[in-house]
Symmetry: C2
């Protein structure tokens, strides 16, 4: 398998969602054109994305929906469940705990951590909140594979270091700060302000307000 | 100005944050190497990204921190404030209202909407929640420029259509569904499950579990 870009992985996630929808509607076979149309892509892009992972479908006949869905699920690791922990039960963290899509895709938030004594040892939406002090040992004991950081910017690096020390190899960071992890740890960051900046960038540039 | 990729815009957001940090530390001049180091990029990538927007800095002397920060702010539309409305005051919506980074960058959530009678006409974290029925007229009256959708998947397209009918040209969608908007409307989608799927993809493929 060659080097697969981030954009390809994002598009696989989209194809997977489209396939779930095609399946729900009862479609058995779809073309790369059908798949492209839903996402406003070209059929060539769809074929190129899928070609990274071997051969799918039959030329001229299209893709069997169920099989393609299952193969993409396997590629994305959605054919199994994952043990996830979340650190920081504030506004963002709390919203993530209730985010139904996670569980639907097999991402099970098993542990919650916080440093607020009012939250520790209490149940939050059905999950016990533990003291962040016992983070590494709890992560190991519960075989946690992914950690979501929803802590303030100032705490993010310190917590990330603890997570890494526990042997966890993947982190999803919602703290609005750049954190550093060793090369064998996968890090994704979501900064909602950055998303809004994409919008403002487009609005500003549409009006030709940029001078260079 | 040539065609600027999404990745370049995301990196501009990162440079902007790094520059704020350099400024806070009292640095006056930085090199493309300094900027690259913080983000784990190559200096060539930094120079290429900036070159889309004209000439910055002096060869061999580096970039003046304050000037570069201000120019990137202008490019991203962060040198002004934006009127934002948010639809769907559930878990995700509520977290976004409290998200301090938004206000810090000039994104002011001025209006909230919901269809839940228990929420309508009540204050939520200092902002009045209006009935989604009056969405288009309120958006127009308050000169809203961006709308954040934090509604369930099944409601997203319908609300997006209302937003578009009110003349709003940019939407940030948190509903876990693909929505369609006219070509002159900028749409960004954030799907948190997709982010976790990037992690699981990397974990699965690191172990060589993909068969093709």
């Amino acid at each position: 398998m060659g080097k697969v870009s981030d954009s390809t992985v994002s598009r696989l996630s989209m194809y997977y969602r489209s396939l779930l929808e095609f399946e729900r509607k009862g479609d058995k076979i779809i073309s790369s054109k059908d798949l492209a149309k839903t996402e406003e892509l070209t059929p060539a892009q769809v074929r190129k994305d899928l070609s990274f992972f071997g051969s799918f479908g039959t030329r001229g006949l299209g893709y069997p929906v169920k099989e393609l869905k299952e193969r993409i699920a396997k590629i994305l690791g959605l054919n199994r469940s994952w043990n996830v922990a979340l650190v920081g039960v504030g506004n963002v963290g709390s919203a993530l705990v209730s985010y139904k899509e996670f569980q639907k895709q097999g991402f099970n938030i098993k542990l919650l951590f916080d440093n607020d004594l009012r939250k520790i040892n209490k149940n939050h939406k059905g999950v016990l909140v533990s003291d962040v002090k016992v983070l590494p040992e709890k992560l190991k004991k519960n075989k946690i594979e992914m950690v979501i950081l929803a802590v303030p910017a100032r705490a993010a690096q310190e917590i990330a270091d603890l997570v890494v020390s526990a042997g966890v190899k993947s982190i999803l960071n919602f703290a609005p700060v750049q954190i550093k992890v060793p090369h064998d740890v996968v890090l994704r960051s979501v900064n909602m302000a950055t998303e809004l900046e994409h919008l403002s960038f487009c609005l500003v540039n549409k009006d030709g307000m940029i001078e260079s």
